[in-house]
């Protein structure tokens, strides 16, 4: 019986934020295509993560566990997921476009002889076939592709597809024994958390980014971090300040950094170079603060303030804090 397989990323029993987005989009495509949806979680903690899908209206889920997936390995996880996709007769397999999918989507494509569509911003179903829309050329164009092979494979850009809660559903969780891993695997031997509890840029709803206009590394701590905290957001940076060693590469937004689609993106002292825009063009609302009225960022920003970061950011931080306190 063909179905839609929603691969819901989890770690030690806790669903990742994008997992709800993947589950909800799978259910929407299920309604459009008439296909039933099966969600799957994989690795240690898979059963409790699968059970946690009920609020998204997932009624049937598989929890893939076993010796081959007890410790993380891209080869082993891809082999196990491909086996489940075949066993369930999946017509469409969806993942969230996080580093998890960057390690698995290509492998699944080779194992299932299908060309995946990565980092999609829209899916559709018409006359019996799925299609995907995805940014290419660093978001400077949008490509629409069709799938000639089955299953169709796609990863969904985080923060773009809405995760919708559905009341009164319980998830029937079936445990699935993971298929054997290939003989040669890359095994994960270590993992160091980079900055505990720091909001991950690609998952943050609000991002406050600083550029060379901050003039000194200290101004990031003095002006950017307090504003990010006041807005409950994460800190981003342009390549100029990352290359200057002011901020870690993990905070770089843009062509050779991260691509983010937050609800609100505040660009401070950033000129708006094409390679920076590539990473944040799909933010829902963009605010720019720059002393140069002609800075390119103002052409993309929904709202701009022409002014000096030293003067504008402290005022914005104070008044944003007061606003949140009042609500």
């Amino acid at each position: 019986m063909p179905c839609i397989l929603a691969v819901c990323e989890q770690s030690e029993g806790k669903l990742k934020k994008v997992a709800g987005e993947v589950a909800s989009e799978a259910l929407r495509q299920g309604q459009a295509s008439g296909l039933p949806v099966v969600a799957v979680t994989i690795g240690p903690g898979a059963p409790s993560a699968a059970a946690a899908l009920a609020p998204f209206g997932v009624e049937s889920a598989g929890a893939i566990e076993g010796a081959s997936v007890a410790s993380y390995s891209g080869e082993a996880y891809a082999a196990a997921l491909a086996a489940v996709a075949q066993a369930k007769g999946a017509a469409l397999v969806l993942l969230g476009a996080t580093s998890f999918a960057r390690d698995l989507l290509g492998r699944l494509g080779a194992l299932l002889s299908s060309s995946p569509a990565s980092d999609c911003i829209a899916l559709s179903f018409a006359n019996g076939a799925f299609r995907a829309r995805r940014p290419v050329y660093a978001g400077k164009a949008i490509l629409t592709v069709g799938f000639k092979a089955t299953p169709a494979l796609a990863s969904l850009r985080p923060n773009v597809f809405s995760a919708t809660k559905v009341a009164g559903k319980t998830t029937r969780v079936e445990t699935i024994a993971a298929a054997a891993a290939p003989a040669k695997c890359a095994r994960r031997t270590g993992r160091v958390d980079a900055g505990g509890g720091k909001l991950e840029l690609t998952e943050a709803e609000v991002i406050v980014s600083g550029g060379r206009g901050l003039k000194t590394p200290e101004n990031f701590a003095k002006l950017i971090e307090p504003l990010a905290a006041a807005l409950g957001g994460a800190v981003g940076a342009s390549r100029a300040v990352v290359d200057a060693g002011w901020r870690p590469h993990g905070e770089q937004v843009g062509q050779t950094g991260k691509t983010v689609a937050p609800k609100l993106y505040v660009a401070c002292g950033i000129s708006g170079a094409i390679q920076h825009l590539a990473g944040m063009r799909t933010a829902r609302t963009i605010v720019a603060i720059n002393k140069d009225r002609e800075a390119p960022i103002f052409k993309v920003a929904d709202y701009g303030i022409v002014g000096d970061v030293d003067e504008v950011l402290p005022a914005l931080t104070e008044q944003a804090k007061a606003l949140r306190a009042a609500h």
Binding site: S113, V136, A141, L143, T144
Partner: protein, 257 residues
């Protein structure tokens, strides 16, 4: 130690993108094509490993694409790569825009290459035209090789390599048995620029042309469009005095707070 590096020719990241007449590809008129930025890290890493192994290793660069790719291959030879293999794809060939077909052609070229299978195959993290981040791991899986993507640190060991990759909020370490595949991310190294000696030496190196390979694409390209224009924004005001109005708009108009 034999290393193969797969490279792609792509429009420069500063190129203005215009949609071509077919509505499915870009208008290439006036567009500058360059070696994919992430592939430079892969070429540099191959050269560094070759220089560090005794006897020195040998790096070969491979590209599946139109005849114009010889410019990028020549560039890699000038950086110090020892040999180059061009797998011809007629311009506009659908296979070259399909991840699975591209991976099948590259895997076949590597299997069939004279001198036997390489110990290490390096790719860029992604190509900045299709932004797929797929071909490296697809080739690894087709060849039955272990692989790690988006690598920012690589240490050669005996019969294995230790690599690091950044994930959300953490840095992971992997042990990978050779032969294997790694895709290169920014931060892995600082790519060298070809010097005069390299450019002269490159002239004496050959670019072998493999037989044209056929592979059926597993996807169809329906359309290529420019993103919807962001509706014109406006400057709310100047200096700190504009902050109250900005916050009001963000709350009431943009519903962003």
């Amino acid at each position: 130690m034999k290393i193969t590096v797969c490279v792609k020719r792509v429009p420069s990241t500063a190129a203005r993108i215009r949609i071509g007449a077919d509505g499915r590809s870009i208008d290439e008129a006036g567009v500058e094509f360059v070696l994919n930025p992430y592939d430079e890290y892969a070429v540099e890493e191959a050269l560094r490993i070759c220089e560090k192994t005794a006897p020195p290793g040998e790096a070969t660069v491979l590209c599946f694409g139109p005849d114009a790719v010889t410019k990028e291959l020549r560039n890699c030879l000038a950086m110090g790569v020892h040999a180059a293999l061009h797998v011809p794809a007629p311009a506009g060939d659908a296979a070259a825009r399909d991840p699975l077909a591209t991976a099948q052609v590259i895997a076949a070229a590597i299997r069939g290459a004279a001198g036997g299978p390489p110990d290490l195959i390096l790719f860029g993290r992604q190509a900045v035209d299709d932004d797929g981040a797929l071909v490296g791991l697809m080739v690894a899986t087709l060849l039955g090789l272990p692989a790690v993507p988006d690598v920012t640190k690589l240490t050669m060991g005996a019969g294995a390599v230790t690599v690091e990759r950044e994930v959300e909020g953490a840095v992971e370490t992997y042990e990978v048995p050779l032969p294997c595949v790694v895709t290169a991310h920014k931060g892995l190294n600082d790519p060298r620029l070809p010097n005069m000696k390299g450019i002269m030496a490159a002239k004496k190196k050959t670019i072998t042309t493999a037989a044209a390979a056929a592979a059926a694409p597993a996807s169809t390209i329906e359309s290529l469009e420019l993103p919807p224009e962001r509706k014109g924004g406006r400057i709310v005001g100047e200096g700190a005095a504009a902050v109250p109005e900005l916050l009001r708009l963000l709350r009431q108009e943009a519903n962003a707070l």
